[in-house]
Structure formats: structure tokens, C-alpha cells
Symmetry: C2
Subunit: 131 residues, 2 copies
Amino acid sequence: MPLFPTALDDAALERGTVLAPRFGADGLIAAILQHAETNEVLMIGWMNDEALRATLDTGYVHFFSRKRRELWKKGETSGQLQAVREIRVDCDQDAVLAKVIPGGDGGVCHVGFRSCFYRVIEDGALAERPQ
Amino acid sequence: MPLFPTALDDAALERGTVLAPRFGADGLIAAILQHAETNEVLMIGWMNDEALRATLDTGYVHFFSRKRRELWKKGETSGQLQAVREIRVDCDQDAVLAKVIPGGDGGVCHVGFRSCFYRVIEDGALAERPQ
């Protein structure tokens, strides 16, 4: 049985009150994490229906790991648990935006920066400049 | 000839100065638009190599339309051109974050809200609450 319903039409999809996420052919939707206090965009990950369900039910961000092909509670090993303050869906319900408070060292990135977007593209090259 | 090089290893990918975006099997990477002044997350779109190149070269956001299968200069018909103030890449170079100033009516969303993320998920249902 599907974990979420399907929207009947564009009006329901865009203006309705029913959460009807449109998972892609790979079963995933994009999930953007934004720091709830600083508004920094922290990372993007991928959720299947089970990961979205677990995120909504527990209040902590869960992803689907495309590499390991399994449900992944963000921070379970690193300590960087992501407590959800608010979660939003976009107009065509194929992406979510989670406003979070990162646990552990306060970041999300395995490289050691607070945000995964620590590099700016300038004149075609990359420069490390944390937000 | 590819428009961008490929990173030789993880060190180059994560800490190098060479922009070496990792397009997916479908040739696309996710591109998040964030308002450069309010920090609102506005939308997520998809770029192929040509769209990223055009964005970097022109200073205006270009996407690849998955529906129409073509390069799409955001705002070309709606007037909602997105002027890039800064563009970032994430640790594994498979997503970009563009900080933008929206033109036209100041928004990005075809439904009429400034941001596509105008609905909050609350107790499993959706409520319209623009950021």
C-alpha cells in the first residue's frame, strides 16, 4: 500500500491541502535542508516515501542513501542529527524544504564544513568560502 | 567535447579548485535558487551541462526543462529572470546553489507566490503559508 496518496489534478497538487508527493521514476524526491536560525542552505539529499514518512513521524531528517540503497537517519553515526523545525513542499510536490537545527557539531557536511555549499564558483574556478 | 572536466579523485572533487560537476545518469544536476537578500529558498530546478555553462556565462539562471527537453532561460516568457549574485557547488559537486535577485514581479513560482515553497506540512496536511 502506498504511504502517500496521489493528487487527482493540478489544482489539488498545487493548491490542495493533501500531501501527495510526486516521487520520481527512481522513487525519490529532492530534500533541501536549510538552517532554521541562520537560513543557510546546508545540503540537498534524497527521500523515498519511507524516508519522508520517517522524517514526518520522528521530527528528524531521514534520507534514502542512493549509494547504500537504504533508509538513512542523517547523523545516526556522525551525531549530526537534524531536528526539523518546519517542513515545506513545493508547488508540484516533487521537492521538500526542511528547516532544521543541526545536532552534534552543528553541521551537515562530511568534509567538515557546516554547510556542503562551502565553495563559490568564481571565474570558472572554485574558492572555499563558507557562508 | 565535454563542457566541464571530471575530477580525478575525491580530494580533487571535494577540496580542489577545478569545477567538475557530476551530472547524473540523466545528465542533470539539482540547482537550488535562494533569494540573495531575504535568504528565502525559492525553488529547485535542473541543469544539464549546457544550462550550467549558460548560467555561468550570462549571469542569468538557465535550466534544462525535463518536460520540454530543452534549454530554458528562466523568466524568458514570465519576466521572472533570475540574476545570479553568487553561485556555489556542494562537496561532491552534484548540486549547485545560486543566490539570485528575481526580476519581473520578484518571484519564481508559476502559481503566483514568490517562492515555490509556499506550503507547510502540518500534522500530515498542507497549509499555505508563504515564507
